[in-house]
């Protein structure tokens, strides 16, 4: 029964995506960049990877999350709230820590603003600034930029199916298509066979060297407009490989899809609060 429900969810998500715009939640859109493939081979693999890519995709999204960043020179934990609507509206408000509390970042279409509580000013950011690592973490704001139709950037193949650590998983290898505008040589993704939840994702450069890894855990069902909810990993850890210390962990405390959000939320005037 879970399987049929799963298929219905996939079909529903697909349909919705094909119709109108798609709301993209902050973090995983970066992941979902170019993940969707319409490769010739391995149709089922493609569907599964596609599904993983769309885990955080919806008409709208409201989330509360915590981001813990560990770097060579410093460590921080940031607590924030996120709203997104349609393809091009995103609002993030920082709640913790104290010195950054009240900071808000708003993106509407191709403009980005940041509200700074200490200076009590709203500053427009040039696009170039948006592409620096988000708040110093290991995630970039690429996703906020690349949010049109997901491009078919990779060819997907199934490279493993079986048991690992007592769990039945499948591993997929994604190889970029020749003209795809991605920097990775390949990406490998491990997905649980039972509930199609991603376990980890590794990014390799063109020489085959693993550069970073994204680990998923804490799977929970969150609310959507349908009564079934959606199963998503609520904890994501991004680690540059080769670095022993640095990493960024994002933990979703709350996440809800398809809730009603008014467009007013995304107005620069309302940034100050």
């Amino acid at each position: 029964m879970l399987a049929t429900e799963g298929v219905r969810i996939i079909r529903a998500a697909f349909g919705r995506w094909q119709k109108a715009g798609v709301a993209i939640c902050l973090v995983l859109t970066w992941l979902s960049l170019g993940q969707v493939a319409q490769a010739a081979d391995d149709q089922q693999a493609r569907e599964i990877v596609d599904r993983v890519a769309r885990l955080f995709v919806s008409q709208s999204c409201v989330a509360t999350m915590e981001m813990q960043i560990t770097k060579a020179d410093w460590q921080r934990t940031i607590s924030m709230q996120l709203w997104s609507l349609g393809e091009s509206n995103i609002l993030v408000r920082i709640r913790q820590p104290q010195e950054d509390a009240g900071t808000a970042i708003l993106k509407v279409d191709n403009k980005t603003w940041i509200y700074l509580p200490k200076a009590n000013r709203t500053v427009e950011m040039p696009t170039s600034m948006m592409m620096t690592p988000w708040m110093g973490s290991h995630f970039t704001l690429n996703d906020l930029v690349n949010q049109r139709r997901l491009t078919d950037d990779y060819v997907i193949a199934t490279t493993f199916e079986g048991q690992r650590d007592g769990v039945a998983v499948s591993e997929y290898t994604l190889t970029p298509k020749p003209a795809a505008a991605v920097v990775w040589g390949k990406i490998t993704l491990e997905v649980r066979q039972a509930d199609l939840m991603p376990v980890w994702q590794r990014y390799y450069d063109e020489d085959g060297k693993p550069v970073r890894e994204l680990d998923f855990s804490d799977y929970k069902t969150v609310s959507t407009s349908s009564r079934f909810g959606r199963l998503v990993p609520t904890r994501l850890v991004m680690r540059p490989l080769g670095q022993t210390v640095e990493q960024t962990t994002i933990t979703y405390e709350n996440i809800a899809f398809d809730a009603l959000i008014s467009e007013e939320t995304f107005s620069p005037r309302n940034l100050k609060q």
Partner: protein, 418 residues
């Protein structure tokens, strides 16, 4: 032989004072001109270098080893714990070659006023110390330079101000990633605007008090990125840099870079210029050589009888050669002295008063900067000595041909010449 040869040579020169004086005048004036050019060129090089370094760069910069050129804000002098800035500056200033030293902090950030935001480089300085180092304060077009009394005052280029819609007295926001990962941001007031004519500075540089930038970056007072150094004599830059690196490395690892490493394109210009001057000096030597050959040849042709007679009464060919060469040497020597005497007052004048470029070259306003009409010379004793030596060598070489010819006179024939 040594004793009487020079005296004889000298006297021989003056048997025909007209010719000797003409030759001396030609060579002497030529030497004076070489001195003139060397002095002006040294001054030109100095001016070129200074104009490239005295605005913001300074003569030498001291950094932590991996700091330059990426400028990551955590690579502070003395490592993560920083250092006693005062002691560091004092240690540097203790070197007799150093005229002034000033600590600096850098960051890249965003500035915003009423219109737009712009990406800028932030430079935190200690106003009193910095003004001993660089001359940006002379380029203010509106408002004032930084002072200790206005900790939240910043100065920026006029082009930047107009882009973002700010003026003197405006409030602006600075935004930059802080050292602890937070987003450093604060309000500041525009204290003044400068105009350098250099795009990179007028559009992209914001100067502020060091302590304020450290606060914005959440850096403790002991952490700075750079110490800028001004030397008494910029030509000592490379040696001073090496010496300082050795000395300072005893406390913690540093990299000391002279301006030649910071702006190699400028160093290239200067070298290019220098070399062209030297090549032209060679040409002068050739002219001088011709002059000397000519003079000596004329002389011996005239003195065929005299030389023949000398050889007849026992002077050996070697001594004849020696005599001619000595005459040439004396000629050269006297010319050098004459040239020096004529030249040195001019050199002094150039150094103190400069050469007035005048006319349409002087007081030209280019991009708002008034280009000084005065071109100052600078003494370059190395060049002067080299020129003198070059001339002496040339003279001796030039004299060889006539000397060897004279040595081959046959006394009997020579005596018969009219």
């Amino acid at each position: 032989m040594i004793g009487w040869l020079p005296r004889l040579a000298w006297r021989n020169l003056w048997y025909n004072p007209g010719r000797t004086l003409i030759a001396m005048a030609a060579i002497g004036l030529g030497y004076a001109m070489l001195l003139f050019v060397a002095c002006l060129m040294a001054g030109l090089r100095q001016q070129m270098i200074e104009s490239g370094t005295d605005l913001v760069l300074s003569d030498i910069q001291v950094h932590a080893p991996d700091y330059y050129p990426d400028r990551p804000i955590h690579q502070t002098l003395g490592g993560r714990n920083g250092t006693d800035v005062g002691a560091l500056v004092a240690a540097i200033t203790a070197d007799p070659r150093v005229q002034a030293a000033s600590p600096r902090v850098y960051a890249t950030g965003l500035i915003s006023a009423t219109h737009q935001s712009a990406g800028v480089q932030l430079l935190g300085v200690v106003p009193d110390l910095e003004q001993r180092l660089t001359v940006l304060q002379t380029r203010m077009v509106k408002g004032n330079y930084l002072t200790g009394r206005m900790p939240k005052g910043v100065v920026m280029g006029d082009e930047l101000a107009s882009t973002i819609g700010a003026a003197v007295g405006s409030e602006i926001v600075l935004l930059t990633p802080a050292a602890d990962g937070s987003t450093g941001n604060d309000l500041y007031t525009v204290a003044g605007l400068f105009h350098t004519g250099l795009d990179a500075m007028d559009r992209g540089l914001v100067l502020m008090p060091l302590a304020s930038l450290q606060e914005l970056l959440r850096l403790p007072p002991g952490r700075i990125h750079e110490v800028g150094i001004k030397l008494h004599d910029i030509t000592t830059a490379t040696t001073a840099a090496t010496a300082l690196e050795v000395q300072l490395s005893k406390t913690f690892p540093v990299r000391v870079m002279p301006w030649q490493e910071l702006v190699p394109e400028l160093a290239d210009y200067v070298q290019f210029n220098h070399r062209v001057t030297i090549i032209l000096s060679f040409i002068f030597f050739l002219m001088a050589a011709m002059g000397i050959v000519n003079t000596m040849l004329m002389a011996i042709i005239e003195r065929t009888r005299e030389l023949g007679m000398l050889m007849a009464v026992g002077m050996r060919p070697v001594q004849v050669v020696g005599l001619i060469v000595a005459e040439a040497a004396s000629l050269a020597g006297a010319s050098l002295v004459l040239g020096g005497v004529l030249g040195f007052p001019l050199l002094w004048y150039l150094q103190v008063h400069g050469l007035n470029l005048g006319g349409d070259r002087g007081a030209v306003s280019l991009a708002g900067i008034v280009v000084g009409p005065l071109w100052y010379g600078r003494q370059d004793f190395t060049a002067y000595t080299q020129a003198a030596l070059g001339l002496a060598v040339t003279a001796l070489a030039a004299a060889l041909y006539p000397a060897l010819r004279a040595a081959r006179f046959r006394p009997a024939e020579a005596l018969r010449k009219v």
